[in-house]
Symmetry: D2
Subunit: 404 residues, 4 copies
Amino acid sequence: MNNKDIRQIRSALDQFAIELPSWGFADTGTRFGKFFQDAAASTVEEKFHDAGLVHQLTGACPTVAVHVLWDFEPGEDPKKVARLAKKHGVKVGSINPNVFQDQAYKLGSFCSPDKAARDAAIKHSYDSIDIGKAVGSKLMTMWLADGTNYPGQDSIYRRKRDLQGALKKIHDRMAKQWRGSTLLIEYKPFEPAFYHTDIADWGMAAAFARHAGTKAKVLVDTGHHLPGANIEHIVAFLLDEGMLGGFHFNDRKYADDDLTLGSIDPYAMFRIFDQIAQYAFERDLKKLPDVAYMVDQSHNLKPKLEAMVQTVMEAQSLFAKAQIVDRKALAKAQAAGDIVAAERCLKQAYEADVTPALAKWRKANGLPVDPLEELRSSGIVKKLGKERAAARRARGEVQASSYA
Amino acid sequence: MNNKDIRQIRSALDQFAIELPSWGFADTGTRFGKFFQDAAASTVEEKFHDAGLVHQLTGACPTVAVHVLWDFEPGEDPKKVARLAKKHGVKVGSINPNVFQDQAYKLGSFCSPDKAARDAAIKHSYDSIDIGKAVGSKLMTMWLADGTNYPGQDSIYRRKRDLQGALKKIHDRMAKQWRGSTLLIEYKPFEPAFYHTDIADWGMAAAFARHAGTKAKVLVDTGHHLPGANIEHIVAFLLDEGMLGGFHFNDRKYADDDLTLGSIDPYAMFRIFDQIAQYAFERDLKKLPDVAYMVDQSHNLKPKLEAMVQTVMEAQSLFAKAQIVDRKALAKAQAAGDIVAAERCLKQAYEADVTPALAKWRKANGLPVDPLEELRSSGIVKKLGKERAAARRARGEVQASSYA
Amino acid sequence: MNNKDIRQIRSALDQFAIELPSWGFADTGTRFGKFFQDAAASTVEEKFHDAGLVHQLTGACPTVAVHVLWDFEPGEDPKKVARLAKKHGVKVGSINPNVFQDQAYKLGSFCSPDKAARDAAIKHSYDSIDIGKAVGSKLMTMWLADGTNYPGQDSIYRRKRDLQGALKKIHDRMAKQWRGSTLLIEYKPFEPAFYHTDIADWGMAAAFARHAGTKAKVLVDTGHHLPGANIEHIVAFLLDEGMLGGFHFNDRKYADDDLTLGSIDPYAMFRIFDQIAQYAFERDLKKLPDVAYMVDQSHNLKPKLEAMVQTVMEAQSLFAKAQIVDRKALAKAQAAGDIVAAERCLKQAYEADVTPALAKWRKANGLPVDPLEELRSSGIVKKLGKERAAARRARGEVQASSYA
Amino acid sequence: MNNKDIRQIRSALDQFAIELPSWGFADTGTRFGKFFQDAAASTVEEKFHDAGLVHQLTGACPTVAVHVLWDFEPGEDPKKVARLAKKHGVKVGSINPNVFQDQAYKLGSFCSPDKAARDAAIKHSYDSIDIGKAVGSKLMTMWLADGTNYPGQDSIYRRKRDLQGALKKIHDRMAKQWRGSTLLIEYKPFEPAFYHTDIADWGMAAAFARHAGTKAKVLVDTGHHLPGANIEHIVAFLLDEGMLGGFHFNDRKYADDDLTLGSIDPYAMFRIFDQIAQYAFERDLKKLPDVAYMVDQSHNLKPKLEAMVQTVMEAQSLFAKAQIVDRKALAKAQAAGDIVAAERCLKQAYEADVTPALAKWRKANGLPVDPLEELRSSGIVKKLGKERAAARRARGEVQASSYA
């Protein structure tokens, strides 16, 4: 790798911040049950502690996404949570309302046939706006579980119009009361709704965002697509339309498997980063476009902290590779219809060994050269496991299976 | 079935015209070869003859979609083709430019890196507009094979912008020179492009249509979706957005299999018709929305004429069932969150025996009660087979396999 | 419908018993949470009560599948459970060991790298055999959640050989100690394992069954296939190989959605029944082949009892239709390569109105003609809801969300 | 990379022969048409020339798969073809009968309802055996296009039994008359049959192979699976069952896209090679298992020769990476349930830069270090294009589109 490539990578890494999800440090599971980890975080403070540790090791994760229902106590001053984050060296990032867990949302939230449920969802969103503003966040990400399980269950038209109205209200309140904020609208083809999902694909998310207003953008969760979908094409299309707001990163082989980034198809993830870099190149931008990179994965079996550090390192590595595609040679090969040469430009960058460049960047930033190895050899996960298990016992908590 | 239901069905059938594709009567195949039928149509006149026969038997197919490259001779007066159609009791329907077959389009048409190819595609589209206007059609349907086979092969951004520009030009020319015409933009996730397809999903088609102008709409081919896609949801969404232009009907189990309508999943087809009827109900429309229904299937093994009559009958049957959903009971059940009752409204209509109602409509229109049986017992397919085989021999034509 | 068809249907319905799952009456959910129903069964007795009620209404469900972990108390005499079933007019059917829920099975059961986990799974299976024998069941169904989430996580070879050995042991113990019993081996492509599942498809299940011995057969869960899989083909193949043991019925649109049977693609379910009837026809059997029909669905939103009655009715209806395919006409059309006529044989049976025949069979068996309507108008679900909610309160139970 | 790894790679490359398909040098297309290349091979000699050139550049392709229908003239001495191969420095490899192209096979070959078609297919297979024996090949690969397009079209049972009988006959004749030969049975989920395919998955192929006899094995085409299928799991399962015969290599994103190997998901291809190496490790074999590696791809747009060299290089690179997985460390991590460490063993090998090791092996074998660059800079493709275009003109041949 030449010096220009190394400089390119180091400069790009300086711009590459990856937000961690607070819920990514807590026990999760499948519908068949949860497997518990002693070191899993149980409290908001433990979540920030863990996120802070990942940031300390990787230098790439200054913010933490929070879940309104799980990380904030009703009535409590949200600034308390912000201070807790600060204590652990991170900031509160995107605000995630939860309009799917309460029994009231059985038939949907903004789309429910029950007006009380719809109103509750809007109310909760307004509360989330207040929290976001109070903690100094700039993003609200909206994922809905809304949908139906059976043909005929509900009117797709009525649901669409109610959802359109609600998102417009939320958007307008954000525009008015929360300066500089952006509403990110997420889509998903299925699960937990198994017949129709009200925001099923990027086209629907973009339509809802357009109806809501200029501060609404689309959030791409890399696991939320039907088999075969070309995600980097969607990303490029949204960028070109000015509608790409950000990402939820994870990997998958089948459905929304929520595996760690790059664990199944690393080349596909590289191609997403490649489109982002290509966009900057074609538009002759000085910087990469402003996109929120967030992790959202649910590694049931990998130790939480290790999985998160591994994810960040994998993201940095693939992101770095995308920066050293020889874009001029690529453009030339593309113009000439020289498919083999054009493909080779991508492959050569993908196959390049970027570890030396990453090591230089890490050293320059006072970080361990192999953050995962550092974490594993530190014994900290084991230590946390003992402490947290003891604390749970002291609180009389039982880690109970979700299924029985 | 009560009289109200029968009246409802008969009135709906009066509004239900299904356009047949001229190419649906000719030999087709897969990439592994073509299997030939003696009775397959070889000439434009034979295609119109066959379409006319289907219309005569079913009373539902007054127009025929034409393929500019296959059905018009360069330099010839298009009105000649229109007169040929008239002679066989049908009219020329939608105009289908062909920008995928010529060697010039190896790397794409409107999206090709080669300006000459892009210009040729626009030129061919302008010629198609002239033809459409001359023959009195009102629709131009645009399906592109544009896409790439390998990551990096071409710039997705450059291709998007060139395509956007071309469709805008074509739209504007149509708006100016071809009164009352509509441009239908089709999407397809893959094939023949196997890495990325420039118009890959309805969201992209709708974006291109919006950029083109108000006379551009989206064309939904029922076989052009990734596994699991909820097509009726897409249809409802497009209707609500005012962007649904029409359909290409066929059925599939795996990819773009181009099987005859309703042969694999008839309930799914019923649910599409149901959303259209539901739209009219919720908007309190006097008539069903104005949507172009077109057949586009490629039944390699079924005899062409039989397959087409079978398709029309199946479409009418499923369409009829969608008219007798008890929409008031459905609305009530939906509002109450009574999923079982709501689903039952759909299922009862789907399972209803609509053959008596169809028979009444056919009799009232002077049509055979069982058009397929009528065709099969007439011996006409056999007779045409003999005549056409003889004619081909006389012309010195060989039906050659496409593969070797 | 002629009298021969009606007789055919009635005789077939006499042979068509559908086993209900005890867990199908309890609250279930997705990984995002559970939505509770007041009338959901909480105790074994309540489950048998509900199953008994469905059997009383439909006359088709004499047995109930039980889940060893959820329906039997350790140390308790299993005959007590059998008596409970009898009290409610049903019998204990297939025995379902549970080797996925315990924390010990985090990395698998028979396939775990941990010998203690493997041994525990075998021990639990042996206990299940004792239970099966004691309660007079004849079937043990083995579904494993075993698999891995990440490439490299474990040795696929070691896991396969350990699983092979365990199933052989269990088979041999059944053959020796539990007369007339059959071991049904289930497969599933993914979930909860998201990289590889140790029994991923029918081919693997059949291989394990062959290795285990002659009393092992394959269990087909209709929701456990990759997108596009032709399930009726698999069913026919297994029947012809003498390896089809039984079914778990449910419907799906995307993954293992566990929707009620026939709710998404009723024609596909009909085609499964058609292959079974066709097998009997081609082999000239006096009776339909001996296959265990079991329901396994997890309708989170539909009221449990209604959903179960609806399922049984739908199964009977589609099963009945498959009996009246004109198999002689079909054979003739197939031999002649007359695709349209052959397909029409299937479609005519599928589209036939079998409600009169079902009504006759129900009347003759002293059953309500519309069991679902009977249940809904009886008010029993509401009554049970009140009673069970009160009982739960009295026991101090809370229906807690599984996610938070 | 340490010296042990380099030795490991070099020794493995010595064992790694990749068979090229003669048809891979000829023009191919999709059902929408063919795009022609001047340098495409038209004659058998041109195909061997091109294969010989690839072998000369890569040193890895000593044999060429032949297609009986396309590469042998009826009545001609097959040894003539063998001599032609020898002239160009290669040998005839696997024999591919063609029982899908002739009009007689419209409804299938061994499975056709028409006995004449079934007999013709067997006869052609016998002829292929004679050819195979005459040219000194040891493999016959059997891919069928047999299947049906519509439910009910034919009896799945009758077809299965006829196919079973035919494959047994062919197997037995091979066993008797063609010493040391193996029959490879290929499977494919769909295309060109779109409802059911008679050999639809590996389980069916293995069942047919078992019924045929001990010399029949399964052929895995990497593009012949439903979305999501875990191919390396299937490969491992077949290896463990002693049923893996060989591979047809290609890559895909959607269906059977026939793209060049590793172009879409290189990590997946690596994992296949990893399972093969892992098998040798766990069984403590001295050599890698005996498996036939064959290319079968249909790169419509890439220049044929370039695509083939690129494919061989990509295969060698991914194969080499699979040899340097630290299998002892992997086994230790797996036994300990240390998922992150186990996964890292795979990822470190996959991400390793093997180009120096490949370069050493190439130099030691007198090969160019970058065979693709060598080919591209040689100008040979251009030269061949001119010569072959001229030769086609001289022969009066037209490269005609397959669609019109």
